[in-house]
């Protein structure tokens, strides 16, 4: 610091370093960057590690069951804790069936909602309605279940079913006596729960449709609805598929609400009025009370099946949504 400072016009300013001093200063390393990045990388590694641990632990815990029963577990419908005989068929069928009912109800509604929010609704109404629909996704599952038990089931059983019974009772899917807790109740609850997910993602997909597409449709003399139906929806097809599959993923893994309204019965039935069971709800119901080692392992086995199913479904959905989000509308014609 004793070197003659380079011309400094301000007396109160620290003397400027000489070129040599500065040269030495320039060559320091910022260790903070290395520390910061390593720390963040370490935190970031937790997530893949957790997922890996989940997959491995499921596999390890399911191993006794896999060894004892193999793949036949997946096609048997017996569930007998006393004699240690387990089969997951009713659970898998119930999981798929309830989700399918949910999709049948939710998809048209969700798509219509998304179209409403992006195309037809007056501008001042769009954000409030979108927020309300998103709040639907924030309602805890157990509250849906509570509402399902005390409001939805009585509504379906005492008010809706008596009205439509004369028209529909001859259909096999509506056969039998309707006691309340049933596949239908589970499907309706699931539909309400996944609707906001599908609507929200579809809305984003539709918002990503370039305005030029819309204008081109209108310029050809099509009505607004025709533009939506022939131009906008087909354009976003891949993304909408992604949204639907995302909703499916939610429905397949949903636990509490379904457990509370589905009736929890190990049987495969065609009628939606009959009680059923899903993978998630059998785990919720029986895990804490499992008696034998094989029963615990069987529950891990179905858990593993559920994990794999949702993994595939979610991966597919992300893939589809990402393709659209990346801005390559090309992908949508391929599907």
């Amino acid at each position: 610091m004793t070197d003659v400072p380079a011309a400094s016009l301000e007396p109160e300013v620290v003397p400027r370093p000489t070129a040599e001093e500065r040269w030495r200063a320039l060559r320091t390393v910022s260790r903070g960057d290395v520390v910061y990045r390593s720390l963040l990388t370490l935190l970031t590694l937790c997530l893949p590690a957790v997922l890996l641990v989940i997959a491995l632990e499921l596999l390890v815990a399911a191993l006794p069951g896999i060894r004892a029963m193999g793949l036949s577990f997946l096609v048997h419908s017996e569930w007998d804790a006393v004699h240690d005989r387990f089969g997951a068929l009713p659970l898998i069928v119930g999981t798929v069936y309830s989700s399918a009912i949910a999709l049948v109800i939710a998809v048209p509604l969700a798509l219509a909602c998304a179209v409403f929010l992006t195309e037809f609704a007056p501008r001042w109404l769009r954000q409030p309605v979108a927020t309300l629909i998103e709040l639907l996704a924030a309602v805890p599952s157990v509250i849906y279940g509570l509402w399902g038990i005390f409001v939805l089931i009585p509504l379906l059983r005492d008010h809706l079913w008596p009205v439509v019974k004369p028209v529909l009772h001859w259909l096999p899917i509506f056969s039998g006596v309707f006691y309340g807790p049933s596949m239908l109740a589970a499907g309706v609850i699931l539909a309400i729960m996944i609707l906001p997910y599908i609507a929200a993602v579809t809305r984003e997909v539709l918002l990503a449709v370039p305005p030029a597409q819309r204008e081109a449709g209108l310029a050809l003399g099509a009505t607004r609805w025709e533009t939506v139906w022939t131009v906008i929806l087909p354009y976003g097809r891949a993304g909408i598929m992604g949204a639907v599959i995302l909703g499916l993923g939610r429905a397949l893994g949903e636990t509490m609400a379904v457990t509370m309204v589905i009736g929890n019965n190990h049987q495969v039935a065609l009628s939606v009025l009959k009680p059923g069971y899903t993978i998630a709800s059998v785990i919720a119901n029986e895990f804490a009370e499992s008696v034998t080692r094989l029963q615990v392992s069987s529950l891990f086995y179905v858990g593993l099946v559920l994990f794999v199913i949702t993994l595939v479904v979610n991966a597919l959905a992300r893939f589809l949504v990402w393709r659209v989000a990346r801005g390559s509308g090309v992908g949508s014609t391929a599907l």
Partner: protein, 281 residues
């Protein structure tokens, strides 16, 4: 001429149907909130917040133990989950351009889609089984696992909203990358990150399934984190599926409190994030 009329009628009809669909979609929210208030509001009183469960047959009692339990379990989850989630989100936004970032983002979505009940049994197997008993700690772990991917993705989005010009300005001032990231980029996105975390916390606070075999529930007031502990959603579930009217009454009241907590957090967060995003635009 007739063709055009039909086309226009179809258009009007379908437009009307989308209005109807939107109404039907919003209806359950109104129905649920209305029912919660009708059935639950009468039981939400001081007793509800300060008393714990009473023995069967006696009426009255409250959810104090469950509310405290939820706060403790969610607090534990935040302690573990928020730093990991926020750190992952910052990493993804700042350094996540390569294959590693892409993979983590994808895995976060997968973990986010993993059924919470599956996470519950895995935590049972990893924490509860070795320890020999259920515990609030295990419940916190399960909720933390659910929290991480949600927080990571929202944090990433919020950090990405910070314009690159600010980053460059800091670097041009001779800030090292870590200082730029922490004191300029993350600091600018701070409000948005906090509210994103609030939304995520609100969501896990309502989770029931992963607590069934971890925190398990407890009929008594307990603050010991290595012991079974009650939680609001667990108690709602137990009381809802139980046979007594008094339990049902408490379940509704509990649900009203839970949804109040969740919706207020989400709404507040939404307002703040909306404002923050507009300022950056």
């Amino acid at each position: 001429m007739k063709g055009r009329l039909i086309r226009r009628l179809t258009g009007s009809l379908m437009t009307g149907l989308t209005y109807g669909a939107a109404a039907v979609a919003v209806l359950p929210l109104a129905a649920i909130l209305g029912m919660l208030i009708v059935k639950g509001a009468g039981s939400v009183n001081l007793d509800f917040f300060v008393k714990s469960a009473v023995p069967l047959g006696e009426s009255g009692g409250g959810f104090a133990y469950a509310i405290v339990g939820t706060l403790i379990i969610v607090g534990l989850a935040c302690l573990v989950g928020l730093p990991i989630g926020v750190g992952t989100g910052i990493y993804l936004a700042e350094f996540g351009g390569g294959w590693f970032g892409f993979t983590v983002r994808f895995l976060a979505d997968i973990l986010n889609g993993t059924p919470s009940v599956v996470i519950g049994i895995v935590v049972w197997s990893l924490v509860v089984k070795p320890m020999g008993h259920f515990s609030a700690f295990a419940g916190g772990c399960a909720l933390a696992i659910i929290l991480v991917p949600i927080v990571a993705r929202t944090t990433e989005e919020m950090v990405r909203l910070v314009p690159n010009s600010l980053r460059e300005a800091a670097l041009a001032l001779g800030y090292p990358r870590w200082r730029t990231s922490l004191f300029v980029v993350v600091r600018t996105a701070r409000a948005a990150i906090v509210t994103g975390c609030l939304v995520a916390v609100a969501r896990v606070a309502g989770e029931t399934a992963p607590l069934l075999f971890t925190a398990f529930g407890n009929q008594f007031f307990s603050t010991r984190i290595l012991q079974p502990m009650a939680a609001l959603p667990l108690q709602i579930y137990d009381y809802a599926v139980g046979p007594y009217d008094d339990w049902h009454r408490l379940a509704w009241a509990g649900a009203l409190v839970l949804i109040g907590l969740v919706l207020v957090l989400s709404l507040v967060a939404r307002l703040v994030v909306g404002r923050g995003a507009r300022r950056h635009a």
